[in-house]
Amino acid sequence: MKKRIVIGLILVFLLILLIMAVQSISQPQAGLKSIGKIGVIEVSGTITGTSTSNLLQGTTASARDIMAIIRQAAARQDIKAVVLRVDSPGGTSVASQEIGVELDKLRATGKPVITSMGDVCASGGYWIACSTDHIMANPATLTGSIGVIMQMQNIEGLYEKLGVKEVVIKSGQHKDIGSPFRDLSPEEQQILQGIVQDSYQQFIDQVVKGREGKITREQLMPLADGRIFTGAQARDLGLVDSLGDYYDAIEQAKVMAGIQGEVPIEVLNQQDMWKRLVTSLESTFLGNQPTTRLYY
């Protein structure tokens, strides 16, 4: 009987630890100690909807992955503030918008979010920066590029040389709008220009909302013609809040979160070798076909 009690206690102790271990793996912050942390989310490369990176292209920042990490940062009790490290020339409009929306939700939880601009934080990169509480740039950072672009190719001439003729059967007049096999009609140009203008207006609204009290719509409009600025120029124009490097942004996060002393920093979306390899292969071989998209 004594034997059964002793071994039973040992097994129960082990079982409890195993259950806690499963919790720790699924939620690394679970434990008896709860130390506040500054979470860092890296946004590097072109902001896209899905793929993380492609072996044949440069680095891309997947909105899907970044959104998942932002939600994780919002849910984790040990993350007290988030630094968004942006080194991106922009990307697709929807991907930037989605990241911006998730950042707004993260801020709504009361956790301050600070942007730290790297080499470039332009266009879609600047869009997402506008969804943070404080924007910090390096003096030589390239930022701005507030505008929308839609690019298409016309390879009709090439097809002619190859002797290939495209046959189109469509349900409506504009179903093949943006086709690379012919010129745009004036009407189509007008439709697409309308889309670009509407998207541009959304960008303006995002900046006005994000930079409220720092720059007015009237002050912004002359700057929002797609031009780029250095970090120092952007600070003077009210497009960024302060100048500083990555560690200054961490300090700013600590101040805004009310944290004193040393605090652990955790890069929340640090890519491990396995994931990078798998997603690269996935993206390279199963990646989406290029389509006409709006880019910030």
């Binding site: 034997k3 059964r4 071994i7 195993l18 806690m20 690394p28 434990g31 955790e266 994931k275 798998v278």
Partner: protein
């Protein structure tokens, strides 16, 4: 002897329990204990790494792939070790009993679960140093039990069991050292630019 008696015996009466296991040779139970301890240890180690933020950061599927690969390797090593110990005992002392060694070695890893478990508990309590010490002690405990397993399964003296236990490892080390020396000599004779 029930499984609870065996597990209790492994911790509190190892000698008598090993002798009984060598006699009854419960291979399937030994395998289940061995593989159970392996996966429990893996889980606890992963949890400790997750908390102390020094893990490999593998995604879930890669982590379990690695664990499964490790389990297969561990089982192969378990089989090869048992075979080697039995073969060496047969060559040197004229008596081998592979199945008994295999069963006993399977059970001998049981206290090894306490190391990662206590280490994990220590990490939770922010006492990593104590955890590391307990981990080491549990490892030494398993080694002691493995020697006992070899001794009881092959009816050897303690000295003979230690010799059989260390001989394969010592041979591998010796061969490794020899290969290093030969490789070094070969490299040193190459013309340098």
């Amino acid at each position: 002897m029930t499984i609870l008696d065996v597990l209790y015996g492994l911790i509190f009466q190892p000698q008598g329990t090993m002798r009984e296991l060598a006699r009854t040779r419960p291979l399937l139970a030994g395998f289940l204990v061995f593989i159970g301890v392996y996966f429990a240890n893996y889980l606890l180690q992963e949890a400790s790494s997750a908390i102390s933020q020094n893990g490999l950061g593998l995604p879930g599927y890669a982590s379990w792939m690695l664990a499964s690969l490790g389990a297969v390797t561990a089982v192969v090593i378990w089989f090869v070790s048992a075979g080697l110990f039995s073969l060496l005992a047969e060559i040197i002392y004229g008596y081998g009993n592979g199945k008994a060694v295999l069963s006993c070695l399977g059970f001998a890893v049981f206290p090894g679960i306490l190391g990662p478990a206590l280490y994990y508990a220590a990490i939770l309590l922010d006492l990593p140093g104590v955890g590391a010490l307990l981990y080491l002690l549990s490892g030494l405990w398993v080694i002691g039990l493995q020697v006992l397993a070899v001794r009881e399964a092959l009816t050897l003296t303690t000295g003979q069991a230690v010799l059989i236990y260390l001989l394969p490892m010592a041979s591998f080390l010796l061969i490794g050292a020899l290969l290093l020396i030969i490789g070094g000599l070969a490299l040193s004779s190459l013309p340098l630019l």
